[in-house]
Symmetry: C2
Subunit: 334 residues, 2 copies
């Protein structure tokens, strides 16, 4: 299907390759959807939120209660992902994967809470093995519940402290030196970053990162990250186009790909985040992000900003004229 798509791309009225990355995206979506008429149909945004035991140690510039407050903001329509989803007519679903507090009942909120935040991985495993498997399963269930007849899902996350967790997971998956996996998250200053580095170094002294994806998640993961892994696996199994957001969602994609390598073929990486480890993680996965806007917000915001560019790539693929159709001369053999 990719070859057939490339054949069409090379007959469109433009120099070969002149649409750059938009051509690869179109060919990829043709392969995902097994068609030469690819389209983004009824996309949904699915954002997983949870708290982290380690957040009380001061690994974030924001207090832990912000996770709960932001869930209310997502549902109230005032967060970045709320605005972006509304603008694109895309339903936004929020999953309480393990928020430390009671989220008010709301029709777009899915209660999948495992526990009020993970345990502090500086002292013990962040979750039990059973909680990890349950999280994967609930991620899958959430995806099944919201997908409807859509063929595209935008994944996001919220969780104060979760770039600390994601940094350890990236270190465990990729083998990159730990410090190269650690960034400023929501905006740590130099002293805060030094503290985060020092704390995370302590975490891997307690327990060297296991190579198995589930064991790694159990030790250092978050409930929202584990549910993302399950949801990404489920979306790929449904042959959906999977829009990956920034650092934390990309870590979840890397874990999903460790479990099922073919998952990557279904993922479009929306943007390169300004979070320090993200570009290296994208290189490790061998993928190229669509946008590079210096965003570092999470919530699925980068993936949502990128989605219209995917739509443009598919419209160009399906709607442009071919050289023979438009009576345009092809390049001379020079």
């Amino acid at each position: 299907m990719r070859a057939a798509a490339q054949g069409r791309l090379d007959r469109l009225t433009k120099p070969v390759g002149a649409l750059g990355l938009l051509e690869s995206i179109a060919a990829q979506v043709c392969a995902i959807q097994s068609t030469l008429m690819p389209a983004v149909r009824r996309p949904v945004a699915l954002v997983f939120a949870a708290d982290h035991g380690v957040a009380t140690r001061g690994v974030s510039a924001y207090p832990r209660e912000v996770t709960l407050q932001m869930v209310a903001n997502f549902l109230g329509g005032g967060a970045a992902i709320s605005v972006l989803a509304r603008r694109q007519g895309m339903p936004l679903w929020i999953v309480d994967a393990g928020v430390d507090g009671d989220c008010a009942v709301h029709p777009q909120l899915i209660d999948a809470k495992i526990r009020r935040g993970t345990r502090d991985f500086l002292e013990m495993p962040a979750m039990t093995a059973a909680e990890c498997r349950e999280s994967l399963w609930r991620g899958r269930e959430a995806l099944e519940r919201v997908r409807g007849d859509g063929n595209t899902v935008v994944f996001g996350e919220m969780g104060i402290g979760n770039t600390a967790s994601a940094a350890l997971l990236m270190h465990g998956i990729s083998g990159h030196p730990l410090d190269e996996c650690i960034g400023r998250g929501t905006g740590l200053d130099d002293a805060g970053l030094a503290r985060k580095r020092s704390l995370l170094a302590t975490a891997i002294e307690r327990r060297a990162p296991p190579s198995d994806a589930l064991e790694l998640l159990t030790e250092f993961g978050g409930y929202e990250i584990a549910m993302l892994v399950g949801a990404i696996l489920a979306a790929a199994a449904r042959r959906m186009l999977v829009m990956i957001d920034g650092f934390t969602v990309t870590v979840a994609a890397a874990l999903a790909a460790r479990i099922e390598p073919a998952v990557i073929d279904y993922c479009v990486f929306g943007h390169a985040s300004a979070e320090f480890g993200h570009p290296a993680l994208l290189r490790y996965l061998g993928v190229r992000p669509l946008l590079d806007l210096g965003m570092r917000l999470g919530e699925g915001s980068g993936a949502a900003v990128a989605l219209p560019t995917v739509g443009a790539a598919l419209a160009l693929f399906t709607d442009m004229a071919t050289f023979e159709g438009a009576g345009v001369s092809e390049r001379s053999r020079c």
Copy 2:
């Protein structure tokens, strides 16, 4: 206005600066539109097409008749810019600035033809001084004719051989070494690129590039490029948001800025093209492009692909909740 916009950006429910380049774009459009409720309203796409005397020398991978054929393709709806404009509900206007052939009459075609292509600048000035001034004027007229009550214009161009002209103009404006201004255009191979370099070196032996923008255009310009300069000046004077496309349109923006430096404040640079000189030209202008997708098609396609991202930046600015409004805790002083 920029300071007021930045004040609002810093109160939105996100870490300070977390929307990256989208924040600068929002602040810029607030300044352009003198409002804290910025919006893209009824955008139009305006594409100038013309032929180049030098095209018969083999500076392009495509034959010269493709300019005329592509004008028909633009108007017939099959070109990349046609698809992108339609997708965004954006009227597409094509200006015949100097195509070597008769464009069929069409309601979206503006006949502003100066001549059937410029003269060959290897032998003589590409145009007369009177033609150059007339082109600037007709560019202004075209903008006035199509803008309606819209506040945004996407500029594009078409002209086989015009990256050769644009390279000489970039060299003249920026002082960058000529070879660093020359790229493969629609897809020259190594031998073709060597030939283009050698021919353009000959051109500046005939006449050293003048430093005056109009004299430079007269020597080495194209009618579509000169009309773009006039249209960009007029759009900035109307306080419109000016979406700049790739290499050739950016050269026109640089020339417009040489005439009126404030023009740059009205320009959003849609993308970094894969054409060799473009990133250096953007650095010379001190601007950062929104997208970097490896596109190298022209027609306004890169600017049109970027426009929804500008729309997203403005929607986030106007529609996101503030910390106080949403009851979200601001960052701790850590």
